[in-house]
């Protein structure tokens, strides 16, 4: 059942649950962070409206820098600002930033430990019709391998707002991963959010035999799967929101793996190197546990509607149920 302590949305399993893109939460969080801290500045590479930096740019024009279609320059100008006492947020699509400017981020932000926050938008395949060129499925991997970098993937718009504000308070580089599409808002204002601390969203009354560990909006599909597994298949599970992939909440994940004995990771990202990779590294070292990985199976996406793509590439609730059954057969 749902963990009521987290005070989730009461309409969580109803058809009319509110749907808002996580990028909207980023836009709101940036304005709130900027009102609190005059050193917060924003840089955008010609995508101000679609990254939702427009509200910030309107309220703080003197703290907003339009850099044009030049993501490498955006990252490095931000590095200079971050060294000089500012708290720069840079925004573009994740395929371009942190895609195109990876080395600039590595050297001038991460290694330099410059206080820059990288907002990677339109991440995952649910960008849909734009096709694979615009579907970032490597960004969690390429960011989390950098020393000094923190990686946060908010699950819904409210969590994205909290994560953005939290990022502004963290001293050091942070990568925030955001989605374009409207997705269910299943947390509430009262749901706790602490960077680095995973939350247990669901724990079956029946003894759980699988831990479903996810990040981002796909966690909603994980919750649907957990509910159906319990009600229709009699399979108990735990669902964990591991919104912070680095530093990973090892304690919570190890405890769940120990309790259940099997793990399924869920992310709208390549199964190589993302959340699944991080969890696998942890379990291989501390508690070898059978695992299945929901995500892009070492392939590029394509054009299509978000729901069509999530079904085709096996990231919807039925695919999560199938992965759970598969991992349980291996025990």
């Amino acid at each position: 059942m749902l963990n009521k302590k987290l005070e989730p949305n009461k309409k969580i399993f109803s058809d009319d649950i509110e749907q808002v893109p996580t990028r909207n939460g980023f836009g709101e969080g940036l304005v709130l962070a900027a009102r609190k801290n005059k050193n917060v500045v924003g840089l955008c590479a010609d995508l101000t409206e679609s990254t939702r930096m427009d509200a910030f740019a309107k309220e703080f024009p003197e703290r907003f820098f339009q850099v044009g279609v030049a993501e490498q320059n955006m990252a490095t100008v931000a590095a200079g600002l971050g060294i000089s006492g500012k708290v720069p947020f840079i925004a573009s699509y994740a395929t371009f930033s942190p895609g195109r400017n990876w080395e600039q981020i590595r050297t001038t932000i991460s290694y330099n430990n410059s206080n820059v926050k990288i907002a990677g938008h339109h991440a995952g395949i649910s960008v849909g019709p734009d096709g694979a060129t615009h579907q970032a499925i490597e960004d969690i991997a390429t960011m989390r391998v950098m020393a000094n970098m923190r990686v946060i993937v908010p699950a819904d718009a409210i969590e994205a707002r909290k994560a953005t504000m939290a990022a502004a308070s963290i001293v050091g580089p942070v990568y925030l991963r955001l989605g374009r599409e409207k997705t269910p808002v299943f947390t509430t204002e009262k749901t706790p959010f602490v960077p680095g601390r995973a939350e247990i969203l669901w724990q079956s009354k029946k003894k759980p035999t699988v831990a479903i560990i996810g990040c981002g909006p796909l966690l909603y599909n994980a919750l649907l799967a957990a509910r159906d597994l319990e009600q229709e298949e009699g399979i108990g599970s735990i669902v964990i929101n591991s919104h912070t992939i680095k530093p990973l909440d090892e304690k919570t994940i190890l405890a769940a793996a120990k309790k259940c004995g099997a793990v399924v990771t869920v992310e709208e990202h390549s199964v190589l190197g993302g959340l699944g990779g991080a969890v696998a590294e942890l379990l291989a070292k501390k508690l070898p546990t059978p695992m299945e990985f929901i995500g892009m199976q070492d392939t590029f996406g394509e054009s299509g509607s978000p729901s069509e793509l999530l079904a085709k590439y096996k990231m919807d609730a039925p695919a999560i149920i199938a992965a759970v059954k598969h991992v349980l057969r291996r025990i």
Binding site: F65, A70, Q72, N73, V77, G80, L81, I83, S84, T107
Partner: protein, 283 residues
């Protein structure tokens, strides 16, 4: 900045000669590193650390200091040696260059050595960081200046021209770039590898004020920096024509000296030549 008397220029020239000698000795001890670029930029580094910069080697974090950003980090031996001579750290620490545990990394790293404004090495990204620092200074109404030293070879990087375009757009008059126009890069001459000319016209097209000087004429270089201070509507670039390997006859203008250190016997020849030149400079 003070205007220059002839005797002051002579003093800076003597200092530059001593720094060149230490560069040779430091590189021999390190056993790897770049030689031509550091020797070519020694006069300019000397002018910065011993005349131009508002700085305090005992308080490298002083907020009001001018920022000197080295974009082409591989010539860091000249920066390390000049900083040691200016009093940032003891000269004997120069012998740790490129060794395990040293603050003098093979390419400069901000987090370990106070006085290094940013980490660099991968080319083409120093100017945009300098632009970020210039923006921050402008926002905070701070009066210090930002200087970015760049190589000509790194003008082949796309990121570099993004920064040129951006600094022109933002009219960052507190930013001065200095191009080490020595015409060489690792694989050969810049105009054979990927031509940069007409370099002056390119900067002018991006709305920069452009000056060209002999990079070994310390007085002329300082005069150019003074002129840059007087330009209020745009950033300034000083294209400094330099001789790679300057001061050591068998290294000058030979691109094979870009990325290797001298052997002990080669260093002896180089040091003898430099000492003789110092003697001729007089007091």
């Amino acid at each position: 900045m003070r205007s220059l008397h002839k005797s002051k220029i002579r003093e800076l020239e003597r200092k530059a000669n001593e720094i060149r000698q230490d560069i040779i000795e430091t590189l021999v001890e390190a056993g790897s590193g770049h030689t031509a670029g550091p020797l070519g930029m020694t006069d300019i580094f000397t002018a910065f650390y011993f005349h131009i910069l508002a700085h305090d080697p005992k308080k490298p974090e002083w907020d009001g200091r001018d920022r000197l950003i080295l974009s082409n980090g591989h010539i860091c031996p000249v920066q390390y040696v000049t900083m040691a001579h200016a009093g940032y750290f003891p000269r004997k620490e120069l012998l740790t260059l490129r060794k395990l545990g040293s603050r003098l990394q093979g390419h400069p790293h901000r987090s370990v050595l106070p006085g290094i404004e940013t980490t660099s090495g991968p080319l083409g990204s120093g100017l945009s960081q300098a632009a970020g620092m210039a923006l921050a200074a402008r926002m905070d109404n701070q009066k210090h200046r930002i200087y970015c030293l760049t190589s000509d070879g790194e003008h082949q990087e796309g990121n570099y021209w993004e920064a040129v375009m951006f600094a022109g757009k933002e009219r960052l008059h507190n930013l001065t770039a200095v191009v080490d126009r020595n015409n060489i890069q690792i694989d050969g001459f810049t105009e054979d590898i990927l031509p940069l000319e007409p370099l002056r016209a390119k900067y002018e097209a991006f709305n920069w004020h452009v000056l060209e000087v002999d990079g070994h004429n310390i007085g002329a270089f300082i005069a150019a920096v003074n002129e840059a201070h007087a330009i209020y509507e745009k950033p300034t670039v000083i294209i400094a024509h330099t001789i790679p390997g300057k001061g050591v006859d068998f290294m000058e203008n030979d691109y094979t000296w870009h990325g290797k250190p001298p052997k002990a016997e080669e260093a002896e020849v180089a040091l003898r030549e430099l000492r003789e030149a110092l003697g001729k400079l007089g007091n």
